[in-house]
Each structure stands twice: as structure tokens, then as C-alpha cells.
Amino acid sequence: MAVVGAGIVGMSAAHFLSRAGWQVTVYDAGVVASGATGSADGAVSVASKKPGPLMTLAVAAVKFYEQLVATGILVDEYLPRSTFVVASDQEELAVLERHAGELEAAGVPIRMLRGAALMDVIGAAAPAAIAAAEVQREGHAVGYRVVERLRQLGGFTIRRNCRVSGFKSSNGRITGVMTEQGIESTDAVLLATGIGSMHFLAEAGLIRPRKGQLIVTDRAGADSPHFPGPLMSCRYLVSKGSQPAGSTAASRSLGLVIDPLRTGQFLIGGSREDRDDRETADADVVATLLRDAVALSPSLAQLRVIRVFSGLRAATRDGMPIVGNVGGADNVWIATGFEGDGICLGPMIGRLCQQMICGESPEQDISALDAARFGLTLAAAA
């Protein structure tokens, strides 16, 4: 089994496939977690999902993390906690109430906070909030640490800095993986290549980079206000997934999440920009995010920014991930296009890919993600 891509999806799939008896090699043009997995915020969260298949899958994915902790695989790597979706004015409150209703309908435990309860829970962190929805039973996992744990558990081989340039096929089946070091034979292929997936597919423009910028602060002092969990401004819901990739409308939108990390530092994000320069962030976006953050949580003004960084998400044309069999070769699968949900969905998707590849029926309904909706085929060069 050749898994292409050593991000959270590929490494999770490699873990489960190797335990299902496959001899797995993971190839990556870079190193482990060098793409979006290494620069994600780590939200294992349902709070921001829109109603529909993604919300349902996110609920299942959170439970899957709990299972992985219970079975000893991700001990200490998953921190259960609530997310607080916050409204600061009447317009945001309307969005908040509608969204909280949608989450409840999907079976997510929600506690609406107003008045004294609001002040009690997040009053110190966000004195400007007029209401908040506590989205319970979700959590946080650092993408690269999840992947590192899977690496340490082993059972498969990792080939770093080993770019897969294409595949050798015979009678409608892939029989080999082409790399700079030559062709290596394989029985099956899983493409978990995120933004790099376009290289392997015939359809142009299906997956576009969507840049995100994040801010890291220094550690807050002992006297700083308590944050019970991440605060997500309601405006984030308006921002997220509101623009299909490549649309000419707003090429940049900002949402606000203030995430208290275990280290005492804060991660403040983020942007969604249709561009592909991942290496640096710009002061304008950072200053705008920080202005919004301080408006919501004035105590943050006492901290310092130690670093800003950016990453590229893989956004699909219709905003939904792509998981399934690739046309034109019956032993090639793909799992890509998770945009901002890779850390949340990744481990479960790895498991579902293993089930699909083993010919079992996946334990979650992923028909909405089926690659067949785009009629995907491998690129001629691949």
C-alpha cells in the first residue's frame, strides 16, 4: 500500500491500514506534517460547522478522538474542552441563536450563556460579549503531535523528501509508484496530498489554496483573566466556507478565534485568503485580527506577539472534502480537500479510508464526499 502524503490524513490511514495487515509505505515530497497539518490551529470542533454532512461527520470525528484516547492511541494528545461562540451585538446574537439551534438539532450539547451565567463563565475573558453558546464535548489536538504519535507507534515506513511523480499502471490498475529513486511496486494507492493533490488529478482548478494566518502570543501572567476555552466570534461563522474557492467575491475574509493554549500562550486567528504564498503573514491582516481580539478580550493587549505564521488549506470547488475511489484505476483512493477541518476529521477519515480500501463498508456515511461527484480521474502525467 502506497500512501502519498504524510499529513494527518495520510498518517492516520497508514496507521489503520498497517494494523489491517497492509504493508504500508508513506511517501512525502517534504517531511512529516510539512503541509497544513503542521500549521493548523488544532480545533477538533463542531462549533463552526454548517448543518449537513460536515456537521454530522465532525460530531462523529470528535467521538472518534475520544475513542482513540480510550484505546491508548492518542493519550495526552487530545484535550476535551468547550468552545464558546460569542456574540457582541444584536446582529451577531441573531446568528448565534440560529447556529446554536442547528447544532442542537445535530445532537451537539449546547449551553446558552446570558446574564449572570455569561459573566460567570467568560465575563473576565470577554467582557464585551452579550451572549455565548457553550459548545460542549469537543476539544483540541495539535496536528503535528497527533502525527508524531502515530509515527512513534510505527508499523509502517516513511519516505521523506521522496516526491511521487506519477504511477505505473497496467490493465486499469496501478502497479507502481514513480519516484526519483525509481519505480516501486504497489497493490494500492491512497492520495492524501492536500493542496498537492491537483498534481495527480486531471481536473484543473478543483482544489485551490486558501491561506490562513495565525498569531502566537507569549505566555499570559498568573493574574490574567481565565479563559475556559477558545472564544469564537460569531462573525467567524459568516466568514467560514462562505465563499467557494476561486469565486471572485471577497478573496479574503477574517474570522476571530482566541484560543488559550495549554502553555499559557494564545493562538489568535485567522484569515481565509484565496492565495498561495504561505511563507509569511502581512501586518494588515494581523493588526486587524488583533484589533478584533482586543475589542472582545481587552486583557490580551498586555501580551506580546512572538510569531505570526501562515499555512495553506486545500479548498475544493464546492467546499466539501473529497474522499473515495478515483476513476480510471480501481485501486486508487483519494482523501483531500479538508480545508480547515483536517485536524478534526483526519484520524476518522484515515479509519474510513482503511475500511473502504479493505472492502468493508465505512462506519460513517461519506457518500456526500464521494470523489465521483467530480468524476475524478488521474492526470495523464500521473
Partner: protein, 439 residues
């Protein structure tokens, strides 16, 4: 003034020299200094002019000439402006500490003259309060005009050790001990090379004479093996060249293992201005070379702007002379630090995040060629406020020592290059005026 703007970062001899040369050519030049006064580390001026540290006369002359010319030049000086990096759009970010705000500039060219950073080789206990760098202590003394309180032990390697010790003696406070790791002898060829830049010999002779008179000459071949807190002070374990161990109780330990150019994590992105480095920020050659290098950097900027720069034969010659002298000087010292294999596992390597050698070792035992990026992410080395500027070298050399030369990690793969290059208060960030929404 219209026309191209050039920004010079750093108010030491290289920065001032570059700014003056540009101003002479009629360029609109702004000099940014992070502190309240110009001078850099070498010409740090006293806060109170009545109290000052003894510095060589040649240093004083050099600085007086530069500051006199600056006073009558067109160079605009911004004090308490810290360079925070260059963002993705090419904007140069400056933290204006005078007004607690962040400002951006879009100069045509940028001269980086931010001097050197001090290397300190890891030793158990080097993260403790009271452990400082030799250069840091020297700058503090230059600012305050006073020797530090308490007993001081100086250790490591390099000419700065005796300079600090002699300056302390002149202020009436000899260090408890000066430990110079190196045992390398001075050869005839070294003396011959140093004669090309005799100022070093005179300076060194003056310092050593001062130390000899006060009985504080360096113990060569001796080094620190551990520092532990004891009774509110620091107990320092040292090893002499003959293998004799001893404990010394002091209040401060000043460490130093050479200097490195301050790379500052700044890289030239696609939209960045034309960038030239000058002085110790480019190559550590000292104050005299910085003067010449500043002129050369200005020449490079002028050439970039399409102006015919005056011929800098003299500056290039001066630089070559200083390079030869520094190379000769460096043969006398031993900047290697201790072999990391001899350090105990609990030795802190990354002082920002408190990560130890043992934690680094644990990352490497998996039998899989873990990449520098994975070491960085999972080990947290290079993930703190300094982005690895003070530990990347040691992490890389330790990893290399554990592998059979197959894929030694590069320092550049561990050290970060993200802005802000130094922490910037959020309260300063929020003052940045919003850009037009058309972008």
C-alpha cells in the same frame, strides 16, 4: 524630500557609517535605533556622562568623528524604534517604543546593521537568573558607569573576557575569576598578522596589564561544568586544565563563546526592499571594520539605485586588513563549547521553552531519520520567542553528532525567520491604521 527612501537599522558604527555615506550622496535616509542613544554595543554611551567605563582612546575618537558628522548631516534618526521584520507585502515593521505603536515603512532599500549576537555554549544551569553574557554585562557597565553588584565569575572564550575583566578592575571591582577555555598558544604568524592591525595588540596589552596588576589574569584551559543555585547565590563548578575540579560561590556568572552575525531572522521575500547587511550583522569583524563595511553597504545601495558610487578601495582594503587580524585573533580562542555528548540529559538547550538535551535525545532514538522540522515542532526547539537564534546551532550539532554524517541538519532548518523578529506588544499592533478595503 521626494525620491527613494533608504532605511538603516541599527545605530552602531556600521549603521551610522552607512547612513552618512548615503546622506553624502543626497539620499533620503532614516536611521532607526532601538535604544535611546546611538553607539551600538561597542560605543554604548553612558546614561550619566560623569560615570563612564574605560574604553580605548581609538574607540572614542572613532565615535566622536561619526557623531559629529551625523549632527550636521541630513540623516533623520528615529530613537527607540525597534525593527520588527518585513511582512509578506514588503512593509518594514518598526515598533515605535516612544509612542507604544507599530509603524510601517516602504523604503526602496534597507540596510541591516544590527551587530552581532553572543554565542553561549550550553552548560547545566546557564538558564538560571544571575547567569548573563559577557557582552551584556559590558554594555550594562558602559550604560551605568558602574561595576555589577556582587561577585562575578567570567568564563568561556574570546577577547571580550579580558576586556570585561579589565573594565571591571578599572571600576574598582575585580572578577572572582576569569576562565578562558582555550590553551592555544600565540604563534609568530599570529603576531605578524595582528601587527597589520596593531590596535588589537595595544588594547589587549592594556587589558592584560591591568589584570596582571590586580592578580585577575585568566586561567587558561579552565571552564565551567555546572552552575547550581545555593543560598541565594550561584555555586559554579569549574574544571582546570590539569583536571582539578573546584566550586566557587558567586552572585553572577558571565558567559561568552564568541560572536555571530545577528541574522535576526530577516529574509528577503518576493516583495521586500533591496536589503544589504553591514558590519558585524554581515560578518563579525569588529568596530573598525564596521565603519568600512557601512560605506561599502551604502555603495551597494547607491549602485542599486543607479547612482555611481564613489570608489571604495580604501574601505575594501580596511575590511581585508581587519578580516586577516580577526582570523589571526580567532586562532587563539576555542569557541567549541563542551561536547554535547558529555552534558547531562537535564541540561537545558532551549532557554525560551525550557527544553532539555534529554528531550532532544529522546526524539532521535526512534531509528527513523526525523527531519529538522519534526525536531522543531515536536521538540519545541526554535519555537519560543527567539525562534531558535540561540539554540539552533547546538541542536543541529548535537543531532549531527548522533548520526553517522548521513543527513546533518542545517541550522537554517531549525532557526525561524518569521516576523516579528522580536516580541511586539499587542497594544502596539492595534495602533496600526487599517489599510484601504480595496486590497
Amino acid at each position: 524630500m521626494s525620491g527613494p527612501e533608504v532605511l538603516v537599522i541599527g545605530g552602531g558604527p556600521a549603521g551610522v557609517s552607512a547612513a552618512l555615506e548615503l546622506a553624502r550622496a543626497g539620499i533620503d535616509v532614516t536611521l532607526c535605533e532601538q535604544g535611546p542613544q546611538l553607539g551600538g554595543a561597542i560605543h554604548r554611551q553612558p546614561n550619566d556622562a560623569t560615570q563612564s567605563v574605560r574604553v580605548p582612546r581609538s574607540h572614542k575618537r572613532r565615535w566622536r568623528a561619526l557623531s559629529d558628522e551625523l549632527a550636521t548631516s541630513t540623516v533623520k534618526v528615529l530613537y527607540r524604534h525597534m525593527f520588527a521584520g518585513i511582512d509578506a507585502t514588503g512593509a518594514v515593521l518598526l515598533e515605535d517604543r516612544m509612542h507604544a505603536r507599530l509603524v510601517t515603512r516602504r523604503p526602496t532599500a534597507l540596510v541591516l546593521a544590527m551587530g552581532a549576537i553572543e554565542r553561549v555554549a550550553p552548560v547545566p544551569g546557564w538558564q538560571l537568573p544571575g547567569v548573563v553574557t559577557v557582552g551584556g554585562l559590558q554594555v550594562m557597565m558602559k550604560s551605568t558607569g558602574r561595576a555589577p553588584d556582587g561577585d562575578v565569575l567570567i568564563a568561556g572564550s574570546g577577547p571580550l573576557l579580558v576586556a570585561l575583566a579589565a573594565q571591571m578592575v578599572s571600576l574598582g571591582k575585580a572578577p572572582v575569576a576569569v576562565l578562558e577555555r582555550s590553551t592555544r598558544p600565540m604563534s609568530v604568524s599570529v603576531i605578524a598578522s595582528l601587527l597589520a592591525a596593531p590596535a588589537y595588540l595595544w588594547e589587549a596589552a592594556g587589558y592584560l596589564l591591568t589584570l596582571a596588576r590586580s592578580g585577575a589574569l585568566p586561567r587558561r584551559g579552565a571552564f565551567v561544568t555546572a552552575i547550581v543555585p545555593k543560598d541565594g547565590r550561584l555555586s559554579v563548578t569549574t574544571l582546570d586544565r590539569n583536571g582539578r575540579e573546584r566550586q566557587t560561590l558567586v552572585d553572577r556568572v558571565a558567559l561568552h563563546d564568541g560572536l555571530l552575525p545577528n541574522s535576526n531572522g530577516t529574509t528577503a521575500g518576493q516583495h521586500a526592499p533591496f536589503i544589504v547587511r553591514a558590519g558585524d550583522c554581515r560578518e563579525v569583524l569588529g568596530g573598525a571594520a564596521a565603519l568600512a563595511d557601512g560605506r561599502l553597504a551604502a555603495g551597494a545601495v547607491l549602485a542599486h539605485l543607479g547612482q555611481i558610487a564613489s570608489v571604495h578601495k580604501g574601505a575594501a582594503d580596511a575590511l581585508a586588513r581587519e578580516r586577516q587580524a580577526q582570523a589571526a585573533l580567532n586562532t587563539l580562542f576555542d569557541y567549541s563549547g563542551r561536547d554535547p555528548a558529555e552534558l547531562p540529559d537535564e541540561t537545558i538547550i532551549c532557554r525560551c521553552e525550557g527544553r532539555t538535551l534529554g528531550q532532544l535525545r529522546a526524539l532521535l532514538t526512534a531509528g527513523d531519520p526525523v527531519s529538522p522540522r519534526e525536531i522543531k515542532l515536536n521538540g519545541r526547539f526554535g519555537m519560543g520567542a527567539c525562534q531558535g537564534r540561540f539554540c539552533a546551532e547546538w541542536v543541529a550539532s548535537f543531532v549531527a553528532s548522533q548520526r553517522d554524517g548521513s543527513s546533518p541538519p542545517q541550522v537554517s532548518e531549525i532557526v525561524g525567520s518569521r516576523w516579528p523578529v522580536k516580541p511586539v506588544p499587542i497594544s502596539a499592533f492595534v495602533t496600526l491604521p487599517p489599510s484601504s478595503p480595496s486590497e
